[in-house]
């Protein structure tokens, strides 16, 4: 739910749902009591602290059951890649708890993960940057030596660092392994504008809607702090191809770079969730999170209009206010998790 320098999708999705249903009862799940979206005016009605997915499925489901008992809810929309990877194979268990969820198939997630993308993209005929997958640091160093520095070193879910020397790669790779585990992805850096496409797949290969943007302002963390809607039939075609090939079900974000060398779009990664900018199209009438809730509930959704090119957003930081009592309430719920995370960097939700 964080909306600071490394914004996460949760708060944006809650805001979009509020646009559609101002009186909806929304439960926010957080990993850190300092996630700013907890305290936003259009934020969730209530928030609960969760264990990280690395605690395992059993711990995660136990906590979800506790949350549901305390504040009943019907549908769950995970917004964190590691949660989705954990839960995609547990739809039955979630249903047993009375929690409705619609997620991509586990096999689809595996297929579209960073580690498998080079293989499947070649099969689909979709261009990607030169990429090698390493099981450990030693292999990553070998791949980088072959490719030549600089290279990006990436983890399976998050974190991408541009490194220029073997020592830098070793340091960045070790940090990624400690946070996320293997594999490590070694990828050539590309020069060119960055484009993102957000959308919803219907699970049969079709698109319920999509929105393509070019990043206008990129933060030092690589985040798009401003983007503008674009219309390029090539981008639409690649998106349709990926969604058709994967029979993608649910929200997605495709990240591209338009390579300066040949003006071709190269697919960088597929995120199995809404992006942090999901609230932007919603403000212009294309409310993807609301459409997805309707789809989950009813199997159909309101038409998603195509946004006109030229509409843009700029990320605008504001101060939200809270009381330490709110922090205390969150900590009391799950002290063994949230206490330690209060002093560490936030990665999730």
């Amino acid at each position: 739910m964080h909306r600071g320098d490394n914004p996460q999708p949760g708060s944006s999705i809650v805001g979009a749902l509020r646009l559609a249903w101002p009186d909806a009862f929304i439960v926010g799940l957080v990993y850190n009591a300092f996630e700013s979206g907890i305290y936003a005016a259009d934020g969730p009605d209530v928030c609960h602290a969760m264990p990280y997915p690395t605690a395992g499925l059993a711990a995660y489901l136990t906590r979800l059951a506790e949350v549901k008992e305390a504040t009943p809810f019907d549908w769950f929309m995970p917004t964190f890649d590691a949660e989705i990877a954990l839960l995609a194979g547990a739809v039955g268990e979630l249903a047993g708890l009375g929690i409705g969820v619609v997620l991509p198939e586990p096999a689809t997630l595996t297929q579209c993960g960073k580690a498998r993308l080079p293989q499947v993209a070649a099969k689909w005929g979709v261009a990607i940057p030169d990429t090698a997958v390493a099981r450990d640091l030693s292999e990553a160093l070998e791949h980088a030596a072959l490719a030549g520095y600089p290279v990006f070193i990436k983890g399976p879910f998050y974190d991408a660092t541009l490194v220029r020397t073997p020592a830098a790669l070793a340091a960045a790779g070790a940090a990624i392994l400690a946070d996320w585990g293997p594999p490590l992805i070694v990828q050539e850096p590309l020069s060119g504008s960055e484009f993102n496409v957000m959308g919803l797949g219907d699970g049969t290969g079709g698109l319920l809607g999509h929105c393509a943007v070019r990043k206008l302002i990129i933060s030092d963390k690589g985040k798009g702090n401003g983007s503008v809607v674009v219309r390029d039939l090539r981008l639409d075609e690649i998106t349709r191809k990926v969604i058709a090939e994967t029979r993608w079900r649910g929200p997605f974000e495709l990240e591209f770079i338009r390579d300066q060398r040949d003006d071709a779009y190269r697919l960088i990664e597929i995120n199995p969730r809404f992006p942090a900018w999901a609230g932007f199209p919603a403000k212009l009438g294309a409310n993807f999170p609301a459409a997805w809730v309707e789809w989950m509930c009813c199997g159909t959704c309101r038409p998603l209009p195509t946004l006109p090119p030229g509409r843009f957003f700029l990320r605008h930081q504001i101060e939200v206010t809270g009381d330490m009592e709110q922090i205390a309430t969150l900590l009391e719920a799950l002290p063994e998790i949230t206490n330690q995370k209060l002093t560490t960097k936030s990665k999730a939700s």
Binding site: R214, V228, V230
Partner: protein
């Protein structure tokens, strides 16, 4: 030179010379003369017709208008608009 480029047709222009390319998300500022040329090309005007329009409206010599128009068209080609 006839042009029917989709990229050219899709360009969003305002009266102050601000140009937004919806394909790339890039924006540009062109002079009044450049705006005249872009709008002319969007209407399907030839380079000769653009030169004639510049001579008539800007009071420049035909050779100057021709050189400037050719240079401008070359830049548009570089951007993939023609």
């Amino acid at each position: 030179m006839e042009t029917d480029s989709t990229r050219l047709a899709d360009l969003m222009l305002n009266d102050r010379g601000f140009v937004f390319d919806p394909n790339t998300g890039e924006s540009y500022q062109v002079s009044a003369t450049g705006l005249t040329c872009l709008r002319g090309l969007q209407r399907g005007a030839t380079v000769n017709e653009l030169v004639a329009e510049l001579v008539a409206t800007c009071g420049v010599e035909p050779i100057t208008a021709r050189c400037d128009t050719d240079a401008f068209v070359w830049e548009l080609n570089q951007l993939g608009w023609l």
